[in-house]
């Protein structure tokens, strides 16, 4: 992920950069299947921004102090944040799809259609995971 983000704003910036990458990859038929990785990374970054905001960190904690934060697992990060959508929440199906992104990444072949929709689950206005966390935790 390059240089470690050290503030809420930097994590948000990284999330938005990944959203842009996702958009660019979706624009090219040959790179569409790779786009969903950027959607997952964007969600990871926005969760880390929200964690920084929630705990009032003035810099991203050192690995020795908070090893639990040095993960890429969306479910683990969500648990730390206290983000636990209920099935009735509008974000619920999109969060379910995003948490399966990690499993998809590890186990499955991704078609362009699947990749596009995973991006949609992350960035859909108001109810996508990125927007929901931004609205409710930032």
């Amino acid at each position: 992920m390059g240089k470690k983000a050290d503030s809420v704003a930097e994590w948000v910036q990284l999330a938005r950069q990944n959203e842009l990458v996702c958009t660019q990859l979706l624009a090219n038929q040959q790179t569409v299947p790779a786009a969903f990785n950027s959607a997952g990374l964007a969600c990871e970054c926005i969760l880390k921004a929200a964690i920084m905001r929630k705990f009032g960190f003035n810099q991203w904690p050192d690995r020795k102090v908070r090893p639990d934060l040095y993960v890429h697992d969306l479910l683990t990060l969500a648990k730390i944040l206290g983000f636990a959508p209920k099935p009735v929440d509008a974000v619920a199906p999109y969060w379910a799809v995003m948490t399966q992104w990690e499993m998809t990444q590890r186990y499955e072949v991704v078609t362009p259609q699947v990749s596009q929709q995973i991006c949609g689950a992350a960035f859909k206005p108001k109810v996508g995971v990125l927007e929901w966390i931004s609205q409710n935790y930032l």
Binding site: A96, R106, Y107, E108
Partner: protein, 154 residues
């Protein structure tokens, strides 16, 4: 590594989930429980031939809508329902394994931290077709399923 027994309540709920899905018009190609040793929890895997064509979002939206409309068993949190296509590695394992016994461990592709560590026992398979449904049947099923779920919310 200790793999727990599938609780009877989950087994029964899985059978009810399969029955309710059919009642709503969706015939999946396979349905099975899987144990994730990393997260220490059971997941329900729904193998569906329409996944690659229609994608993960519309079916997730409908499964949540059906759950909210009490048309799927309340014992199964829709967050643990994972829909996958018939051409993926997980589906191929499930379609080929012995239902009478034996266990498969699904090894992730590539390097990096393994977020999941999945195990499936043959006896956890709730339902499995001998071959995937044709795309014509899948389309019909999908339209019927969408209509019936939408009616729940109307």
């Amino acid at each position: 590594m200790d793999i727990p027994e599938l609780p009877v309540a989950l087994k029964d709920a899985g059978v009810a989930f399969d029955r309710d899905l059919r009642r709503l018009g969706l015939r999946c190609d396979a349905l099975t429980w899987a144990w994730d040793a990393r997260k220490q929890t059971f997941f329900l895997f729904l193998v569906w031939a329409g996944f690659d064509r229609f994608g993960p979002v519309p079916i997730a939206e409908k499964i949540f809508a059906a759950y909210r409309g009490s048309a799927l068993p309340e014992e199964i949190d829709p967050f643990i329902v994972n829909v996958v296509g018939v051409n993926g590695r997980l589906a191929k394992q499930v379609m080929s394994m012995d239902r009478g016994g034996g266990m498969v461990r699904l090894t992730p592709r590539g390097e990096g931290p393994h977020v999941f560590d999945l195990h499936i026992t043959g006896s956890w398979i709730i339902h499995r077709e001998r071959k995937p449904h044709s795309i014509i049947d899948v389309k019909k099923d999908w339209q019927r399923f969408q209509s019936r779920v939408d009616e729940l919310a109307a």
